[in-house]
């Protein structure tokens, strides 16, 4: 009997997944990889890439179909806040590709920049190219490997980046070896003397406190951009955080360029804050102690 019920539930879940749960969702493509199932679908004039886990979907990337340049997610807009700290980075590293929205936008905004992207999952790269207009070229290079391994090797090879974006997390799963003090120190060693770090982290759980103390222990004071308790972007600069006046000035310079993405300084600048809203005693995450996913769960 229980077995029967369970089967029914499973069938219902399956049905809700293959047919359309919302009114106008069209399944475009599915791709299985070593790490996850990738689903591409269209809904409300948007094309989205999502990873399915335990019958839930986590949207990774969405692109507006009517206006492909416009950013759909707040966090991508917040990540662009990095340009308020340095409007013209020469070399950029992005850890985590998703649909490639960030690198494609950066390539438009900073045409001279060389952009390196590390993505662990070749299937994500394939889907980004096929369905999201991601287009690597000699200036936009993709490395299909683990972000930690790439960063360590680049550090040993004495490379430097003007901007490093960490975008390998979502609210459901965190690669734990990419959220430790040691990893952030390796990232810091890769940054130029005036380099910028931008990290997209999703945590709203008690991990938030641990994550905050960990970033602070490596980068000192940072701009903490938070929106609706869900999205969080950390922005830090190697040679000291620019004042809010300087941020405002750069926002003014970038206003026209950022407009096509669907936001401007009037929305983004007020999010810049250095206020500490976490418990300063939260244990710092290290390679020795990194139960990020357990800390991020509800228990």
């Amino acid at each position: 009997m229980r077995q029967g019920n369970r089967l029914k539930t499973l069938l219902a879940l399956f049905a809700s997944f293959v047919t359309t749960p919302s009114v106008a969702m069209t399944l475009i493509h599915t791709e299985k990889s070593l790490y996850r199932n990738i689903v591409v679908y269209e809904e409300d004039e948007q094309r989205c890439m999502s990873f399915t886990r335990h019958n839930q979907t986590a949207r990774q990337t969405c692109r507006s179909l009517s206006d492909p340049n416009q950013f759909v997610f707040s966090y991508t807009k917040m990540m662009m806040g990095a340009l308020y700290l340095n409007p013209n980075p020469g070399k950029i590293l992005i850890v985590g590709l998703g649909g490639g929205v960030l690198p494609m936008a950066l390539a438009e905004l900073v045409p001279d920049a060389g952009i390196d992207i590390v993505e662990i999952d070749p299937a994500v790269v394939k889907v980004a190219r096929q369905f999201f207009g991601f287009n690597p070229n000699p200036k936009i290079r993709v490395f299909e490997e683990d972000g930690r391994v790439f960063v360590k090797r680049a550090g040993k090879a004495d490379q430097r980046y003007d901007l490093i974006m960490l975008d390998a997390f979502d609210h459901e799963y965190i690669p734990e070896h990419l959220l430790t003090r040691e990893f952030l120190l390796e990232v810091k060693a890769l940054l130029a003397a005036d380099g910028i770090l931008a990290a997209n982290t999703f945590s709203s759980s008690r991990l938030y406190h641990h994550e905050s103390t960990t970033y602070q222990s490596v980068f000192g004071v940072f701009y903490n951009l938070r929106l609706k308790l869900k999205n969080r972007v950390i922005l830090a600069k190697m040679d000291g955080l620019p004042s809010l006046d300087a941020i405002q000035r750069n926002a003014g310079l970038l206003e026209e360029k950022l407009k096509p993405l669907g936001f401007g300084g009037d929305w983004l600048v007020p999010l810049f804050s250095t206020e500490r809203d976490w418990n300063p005693d939260a244990r710092i995450l290290t390679d020795q102690y990194s139960p990020s996913n357990l800390l991020n769960s509800a228990f």
Partner: protein, 201 residues
């Protein structure tokens, strides 16, 4: 009777120990090689190979004057080989990282260098323990079954406790030190017990 119970306890603990170390080894390798599926593949391969060799050696060793005391020495030896990991992990991982580009072979080689010996020694315990338990062939299957039960049940417990709880409260090196300490205590207790006259031959 006490001796028998103790032999089962050692087998169960040894199972716990191996799986706890295996899970931690994933953590230890991740900073250098990531935690992709192939890193786990390398780790599991090394642990399985080491256990298979350990079974072979343990069975062989049981041919020569098997005693509870020697079983205890195996346990203690495994503990020492594990405590070395605390000190050797960083230099060994960096050494391999600088020489092997492909993280698949890097993780395979690192796991071999760090974990092959402790896991082999842990694998020697089960067959050796079977020899100490069995005194008539009619009961050999019965005892072997009980022993597999203890050892594999211990493995399940070690997997669960380590991944659900231990990593949430302790650092990797603290867990390794704790595991080693328990092995030492159990080993010393077994040596103490083994000195009594009615100890298994």
């Amino acid at each position: 009777m006490v001796h028998r119970l103790f032999i089962f306890l050692i087998a169960g603990w040894s199972g716990f120990f191996v799986m706890a170390i295996e899970l931690l080894s994933g953590r230890i390798l991740a900073p250098n090689f990531g935690n992709s599926i192939y890193v786990w593949g390398g780790i599991i391969t090394v642990f399985m190979l080491a256990l298979s060799v350990g079974y072979l050696l343990g069975g062989r060793l049981s041919l020569y004057d098997p005693t509870l005391r020697r079983l205890a020495l195996l346990l203690i030896g495994g503990a020492f080989a594990t405590v070395l990991v605390i000190f050797l992990a960083d230099p060994v991982l960096d050494w391999v990282f600088d020489r092997v580009q492909d993280p698949r072979y890097g993780s395979l080689l690192s796991a071999t260098l760090l974990f092959f010996i402790p896991t082999t020694v842990a694998g020697m315990i089960s067959p050796y323990a079977v020899r100490l338990l069995v005194n008539e062939s009619r009961l050999s299957g019965h005892f072997a079954g009980l022993l597999y039960f203890c050892s594999t049940f211990g493995s399940a417990a070690g997997t669960l406790l380590t991944s659900f709880y231990l990593v949430l409260y302790f650092e990797i090196h603290q867990i390794l030190a704790g595991l080693t300490g328990i092995s030492l205590l159990l080993g010393l207790a077994a040596i103490f017990l083994g000195n009594f006259k009615n100890a298994p031959r």
